[in-house]
Amino acid sequence: MASVPAPARLSLPVPALVRSPLARFIARRLASLVAVLFAITVLTFLIFQAIPDGDPAVRMAGRLATPQQVADVRKQWGFDQPIYVQYERTIEKILDGSVISYSQQIDVEQEIVRDLPPTISLALGAGVLWLVFGVLFGLLSAVHAGRWLDRLLSAVALTGISMPVFFLGAIMLYWLGYKWGVLPLGGYVPLTSDPWGWFTHMLMPWIALSVVSIGVYSRVLRANLLDVMSEDYVRTARAKGLSERRVLIRHVLRNSLAGIVTLWGLDFAWVIGGGAILVESVFDLGGVGQYAAQSIERLDVPPVMVITMLVAAAVVVIGALVDVLYAVLDPRVRLS
């Protein structure tokens, strides 16, 4: 699973009133959120300016439009203004919730709010699945390091990592959906209207999305666990007369979790922001990722801008939560 680059750290002067470390931490993260959003929206906007054939007026006026009609559209939508004015107007509209897409000319934010439930369902379910099984397989691998179970799990993990999502998705749809008919063939059912339908519709997407991550997480955790197992304090724990199980959970696993938590936060934010485009498309969930893919195809700037901001915000917020959790997991780390 691709990881999203960590948000840039920006130090701004913090008012003296803000005294508690947690409040200062939150203030600093909010400042960095604003900076990240600004940078990423400017970048996205400029990229669309640079794309050949990207002139939205020509696309919106239609294939048979006269030059006069194109000019009218350009004037009406403000595409004749300087870039920074266009940028400013777009951001203004995004902030007051009135941004309209170029292609279908519908309200972008309503569209995204409609697409969020399937995406969040996908992220939560798959996130739990890959965390639980990643930790379980990593633990089993490390405990049996070098023996047959470890080798078997390595082989499974590597197969999972190298399995393309669209391939695995297609196989599952064919067998489970079409041949045997045990699970529905794609689409999304809201949790509120039909919980069981929601579950059966989401099951295949969850599995398809988490298989790669389970492979990655179990390998990362296995390496961390083996490192920690050779630490002196694990030897101390054994010398104290603790049971192997307690040594493993309280002294080995507990000290290996920090890396996994960081990875999980970034991956989760990535799915929330529509990163699971392939899975959403294969199973036709109609999520944020699918909407992003369609908008990029149509060179439709406003939805892409909003979705990009959503990803950035998710990464910064979840990144902050991960840092808090990190400080809880490792008392040597201070929030700063």
């Binding site: 054994r238 007369g241 192997e244 309280r250 507990r254 997991l329």
Partner: protein, 567 residues
């Protein structure tokens, strides 16, 4: 006290591990020594052998070791690293068990056989009837759990009926008993919030928590500052008397055992080569190996040399280094608080102080690795640096030749010269040219530090900075490295700045000594002046804590040459 001889059969030839020998107890035909008395022995080890399978064959780390220990008695097991003394202790704790380990012989704790004991039973004995204190308290405590919880965890693992609150209360009492100030509050501290000495006291408190009669202490003071070492040893000595503890003290340093041990066993290559009362071993060692270890303790003869009072190669003026621990607005911590000094060509200046006094930061600032907050550093010519731990400071994936070639290339040596030049460098520090293809892990500690020195000399520096150059080496190897440094200085005329926590380690080589405390130089002068007429109380404290050989030892009571320390 029982008189324990060395192995009844003498030194034995290597025997392959025999099937079924594990846990077999005393072999038939093996003479039983002092049968009646050994039944009550706290620890009775007979013919213990441990070997580890490696790729081609097996390494016998412990070979036919026989030991006995009574309650209230302290036995020191002394040997160089690799002599098998730690493996011996870890085997008693069952910590060396594994698919590649073969253990034979017998080890009885209060009459109960430990070798081959089933894992569940062994787990119940660990921590309750025998406890172990390890070398490095920093890495031996789990950094993410509070120290009180770590002690309480051990209590509750053996006494499941004790509530968590009760166990924590007991942890607090134990920490108070081993002399941790403000113990009730420190129960909730994490290991990184305590000093090295306090961390080791926590380890000792943990070992005492269930009243284990046997304490195995594996180099308990090696990772600590000299003054703290003395305190920890005093603590162990006191506990031995109060708790009637049997202590097995494992160390490479004869200097620290005179105070505390009743008997000494000297180990070499997995065997006990000599065993006897402390007085016997110190006064009349019979084995050449023991003599060699004892000789290494005596200070090296001071060299005589012709001083060249050339222009200074290094001048520091009002050097300050400040850190801020908690962001830019917090109060700065002064690691180096206004240091001015100069070093002449061909001179050796030793900077001595405890860990945390800023001496390493000072050295790193001179090397340009740390930016000073104020003040100036001026030096002439090139500069080389030798680090404390050669294992950690050499790239493990680069062979010796490549390491040296790279250092030479950094000093703009032509590519076609470096190979020959690297060999020349290696030979100059006493390494055979054939070692050039070896990787750091294939070298001994002494050889690794020689590589580190050769690397520092690559640019023909006029100034070499040495950060604790011998403190990670066994006592017996230190002499050789110190002599090498002297030879090189005479040959190349470079100046040395040596940083050390141990006055004893630098007294043979330093022309001048600077004593550093809390970021400042509290005393600086010629070596003779500082050592013989120390002015500052802190210098006197350091001098008092120096490990010393006891003079002619009386067998009734040990004359303590250390200063006494409390709490």
């Amino acid at each position: 006290m029982i008189d324990i001889g060395s192995h009844p059969d003498g030194v034995q030839p290597f025997r392959g591990p025999r099937p079924g020998e594990t846990g077999a107890g005393v072999r038939p035909g093996m003479p039983i020594v002092a049968g009646a008395a050994s039944a009550t022995a706290l620890l009775d080890v007979r013919d213990l052998s441990v070997s580890f399978a490696i790729r081609d064959g097996a390494v016998r780390a412990v070979d036919g070791v026989c030991l006995q220990l009574q309650r209230g008695e302290a036995l020191a097991i002394v040997g160089e690293s690799g002599s098998g003394k730690s493996v011996c202790a870890m085997t008693l704790m069952g910590l060396t068990r594994g698919p590649t380990t073969t253990i034979s012989g017998s080890a009885r704790l209060q009459g109960e056989e430990l070798i081959g004991m089933d894992a569940a039973r062994l787990r119940r004995i660990r921590g309750r009837r025998m406890a172990m204190v390890f070398q490095d308290p920093q890495s031996s405590l789990n950094p993410v759990h509070r120290v009180g919880d770590q002690i309480a965890e051990q209590i509750r693992a053996h006494e499941p009926l004790v509530s968590k609150a009760q166990a924590l209360a007991r942890a607090g009492e134990l920490m108070e008993r081993v002399g941790i100030p403000l113990a009730c509050e420190r129960v909730r501290a994490y290991p990184h919030e305590l000093s090295g000495g306090m961390r080791q006291r926590v380890m000792i408190a943990m070992a005492l928590s269930l009243g284990a009669p046997l304490l195995l202490a594996d180099e308990p003071t090696t990772a600590l500052d000299v003054t703290v070492q003395a305190q920890i040893l005093a603590e162990l000595k006191q506990l031995r008397a109060e708790e009637d503890l049997g202590i097995a003290l494992i160390t490479h340093d004869f200097g620290i055992v005179a105070d505390i041990a009743d008997r000494i066993a000297v180990m070499q290559d997995g065997r006990i080569v000599e065993q006897g009362s402390t007085a016997q071993i110190f006064d009349a060692p019979t084995e050449p190996y023991t003599r060699r270890l004892l000789d290494a303790l005596a200070p090296a003869p001071r060299r005589t040399r012709t001083r060249t009072d050339g222009a200074p190669v290094l001048e520091l003026d009002g050097l300050r280094v400040e850190y801020r621990m908690h962001g830019r607005r917090s109060a700065p911590i002064q690691a180096v608080a206004g240091v001015s000094l100069s070093v002449g060509a061909g001179e050796t200046l030793a900077i001595v102080g405890e860990s945390g006094c800023g001496k390493t930061t000072l050295l790193r600032t001179v090397a340009g690795l740390v930016k000073p907050s104020a003040g100036t550093v001026c030096f002439e010519g090139r500069l080389g640096m030798v680090f404390q731990d050669p294992q950690a400071s050499l790239n493990p994936r680069r062979c010796v030749g490549a390491t040296l070639e790279r250092a030479l290339r950094a000093h703009a040596y032509a590519r076609h010269h470096v190979r020959a030049e690297a060999i020349r460098l290696a030979e100059r520090v006493g390494l055979d040219a054939s070692l050039a293809e070896r990787y750091p892990h294939e070298l001994s500690g002494g050889q690794r530090q020689r590589v580190g020195i050769a690397r520092a000399l690559a640019g023909e520096p006029r100034l070499v900075l040495l950060d604790e150059p011998v403190s990670s080496l066994d006592a017996s190897l230190r002499r050789g490295v110190i002599e090498l440094l002297d030879e090189l200085q005479a040959e190349l005329g470079c100046a040395y700045v040596v940083v050390s926590h141990d006055l004893g380690a630098v007294e043979a080589t330093a022309d001048r000594i600077a004593v550093m405390h809390a970021g400042e130089i509290v005393e600086m002068g010629s070596a003779a002046d500082v050592l013989q007429r120390p002015q500052h109380p802190y210098t006197r404290e350091l001098l008092a804590a120096r490990p010393c050989l006891p003079g002619p030892v009386r067998s009734d009571a040990w004359t303590t040459q250390r200063g006494s320390f409390s709490g």
